[in-house]
Every structure is written in structure tokens, then in C-alpha cells.
Symmetry: D2
Subunit: 116 residues, 4 copies
């Protein structure tokens, strides 16, 4: 049986859009420990433009960047999930969804933290 989507479902859909947008817009960007802070701010502010998006928090993990650069002899690398911790809060109607991305078993897992 079909249902009209609820506000909570709409909020989850919108949160997913923000995560997919964030990851696939910025994955591959050249990044170093020195340039990581400006990139993190730009990611937050650009995705917060999207509808229903209350807040985006991006941490580019400098410890993981340093580890990757020591292993490669290069002085920059490409942004990928290994270097990212992200939280996104979306409001839709009366509902709020909190979502997060972090590495689990070598895969950048995006998940719903709470539906309020």
C-alpha cells in the first residue's frame, strides 16, 4: 500500500541529498594539512545553502592526512572519505533529522543518528 511521504521521511530524503551532494562534489579535491581548514569551511557553507539544511559540520582529519602524506612522499593528496567526519542537521516541517558520516570498516558510512 502506498503512503504519502511523512515529514520525517522527507527530512531523511533531504538529509541524504545533502550527504550525496557533499561527498561527490568535493571528493577528489587536492588537499594538504595547510589547505584543509579553508576547504572544510567552504564545504560547510556551500551545502548549508541547500533547502531545509540547518547545519553542516565538516572536520578534515589532519592526523589521517599526515599519515597518508608520510606514506606517499607527496605533499598533498585527494579528498576522500578517509579524511572526513561530517554531521548534517535537516529540518522539515515539525521534524528534525541528525545524520553523520564516518569511516566504518574502511567504508565512509553515512547514517541517520536521530529522527526528532
Amino acid at each position: 500500500m502506498d503512503e504519502a511521504p511523512s515529514d520525517a521521511q522527507q527530512a531523511c530524503f533531504e538529509a541524504g541529498i545533502k550527504f550525496g551532494s557533499l561527498y561527490h562534489q568535493f571528493a577528489g579535491t587536492p588537499v594538504s594539512p595547510a589547505s584543509a581548514p579553508s576547504l572544510a569551511r567552504a564545504i560547510e557553507e556551500s551545502i548549508e545553502n541547500q533547502p531545509h539544511c540547518r547545519a553542516v559540520t565538516v572536520d578534515i582529519r589532519e592526523d589521517e592526512l599526515e599519515a597518508a602524506l608520510e606514506a606517499s612522499s607527496a605533499d598533498y593528496t585527494e579528498l576522500t572519505g578517509r579524511f572526513l567526519e561530517v554531521e548534517i542537521v535537516v529540518d522539515y516541517g515539525e521534524r528534525t533529522v541528525r545524520t553523520a558520516m564516518a569511516m566504518e570498516n574502511g567504508y565512509p558510512l553515512m547514517k541517520i543518528v536521530s529522527v526528532e
Copy 2:
């Protein structure tokens, strides 16, 4: 009050991820009427790799491409929402979510079509 996310909410979140990924991975790709079919197939097959994704259908609107090229004197343009019609079906647990993207009022609107 918090709730654990339901299968239907998880399905909506996953569908949103696919839409955001699709749009921000491929927006900006050089495209012409001749290259549109190979791009549409590649978009479908790449996004179908993502977890819980049953089917992705992409139509790159050749009428809109032709109109854009006539207006510009160039022989290719960049892929953007104006040229795209997309349907994505996601399964999560016992639930299926159908979603679609098309232009509404000049904006590429992504929406939930049904939650089954």
C-alpha cells in the same frame, strides 16, 4: 522525542544519497546530443553500484540540449538539471521508495514519488 529510524526512513535517506551523488558527480560534464546516450548509461550503471539501489533511469533530454546549443553557437554544453530526468528506486528491508527528479519552476526538484 527520539525514535530509531524506520526502514521507510532509511530508504528515503538512501534514495536522497543516490540523488545527491548523481547530480554532483556528473553536473558539469561536457555533453552533446551525440554523447548524451553514453553518458546516460554510465550514470545509471555507476549509481546502481551504491547500496540498496534497485534501479536508476536517466534520460538526457535531447530537445533541451538542441535548444541550448542553438542559443549559444557552441556544439556542446555542460550537463545540468535542465537536461535531466531521473528516476531512482531504493529498497531497504521490507520497504521500497520511488523518487524522481525533473525541472519545476526552473529548479531541478528531487522528490519522493511513493513509499511502499
Copy 3:
């Protein structure tokens, strides 16, 4: 007849790589007048990580952004060539190449300004 590439040719090749990278990494990013400055800084600092790149200067044209938003009733848009003015300076061996991108006839033209 083949020639080994000269330093000037290598510098031009490297400058082209930076322009293609910059454009196709960041085209499609959600952008508004408020978020344009952080995005411009992140683009500069990320592309300056690439080899042989002395300096990248990015201006996101807020007048064009405002004009696009007035026409659309939305409060953000997607980054594209229309909103960008970019200069890139590359050094290779003894040679320096200055390059720029700006709109010409509705197309974001990337060009060599000087080979020194």
C-alpha cells in the same frame, strides 16, 4: 618530426591541468553571495597544492550571482563559468606561464596570457 617538450610547453601543459581541475572539481557547487568568499579561498588553496603552481586567484562575481538569483527566485545557484574570474601562474624550469579564464561570447574561455 617529434621534439622533446620544452620547459615552456611543459609549463603550458601544467597550467592547462590546473584550469581543467579547477573548473570540473568545483562547477556545480551550491553558491550564494554569502558563501562565495569561502568557496573562492578554498578553490585557490586547493589548486595551489598541485605541482608547479605558483599562484591561483579566484574571483566569484557577486554582481553576476545577484543577477542570477533575482531572475530565479531561489537564494542560491550552482557555480559555473559565468560567475568565475580566475588567474593561474605556473613555473616550470626557467619558464613562467600566466593564464586566465573569463567569459567570452557566453563561453568560459581559458587562455594563455603570457609565456615568460
Copy 4:
């Protein structure tokens, strides 16, 4: 002393643009052995739209894909330089430049093969 750019320098600049575009448009795309062929064709045909571009040849290395997937327990991964071999031929005026990308020391190196 400044010089006006030669046709050979312009050809090298244009070839660099194609390489930067190709890499940063498509890096991060979800890819599996089954979807690699459609993605390779789409990359070739999309970049061949760009001005002065005679031919683009893309090989997505299925052996490297298989090795990456065995190591991760996932059934797809993200496109990155490790999986790509690319050749691009650009014509400008009377000159032709042949360029290639392949892995060297763990880094996806783009280089000029010949200037004719």
C-alpha cells in the same frame, strides 16, 4: 621577455585542460568491474566534445579494480588514478600533441608524450 604563445604551446595548454577536466569530473564515481566499460566510453565521448580534442582513449583497469575489491569486501569502489590509463591527442593549428596518464610511484602522472 614575453612571447606570444606558439601553436605548440597552445596545444599543450589545451591538452592539459582536457586531462584536468577528465580527472576531476570523474574521480569519485562509483565503479565496479561490471560498470567500468560504460564509464570508460562516457568519459571518452564527453571529453572529446571539448575544443581541439581529436581523440581520448580511456582504459579502466579491471585487474586493479578486482584487487581493490578483494581487499575491501565491498563490491564497488570510487574511480581514482590507480584504475585509469588515459591517452589524449590534441590538434592546434599545424601542431599535434600526444599526452598520457598512468601511475608512477603511486601518483597518477600526466605527461606530454610528443609534440609533432
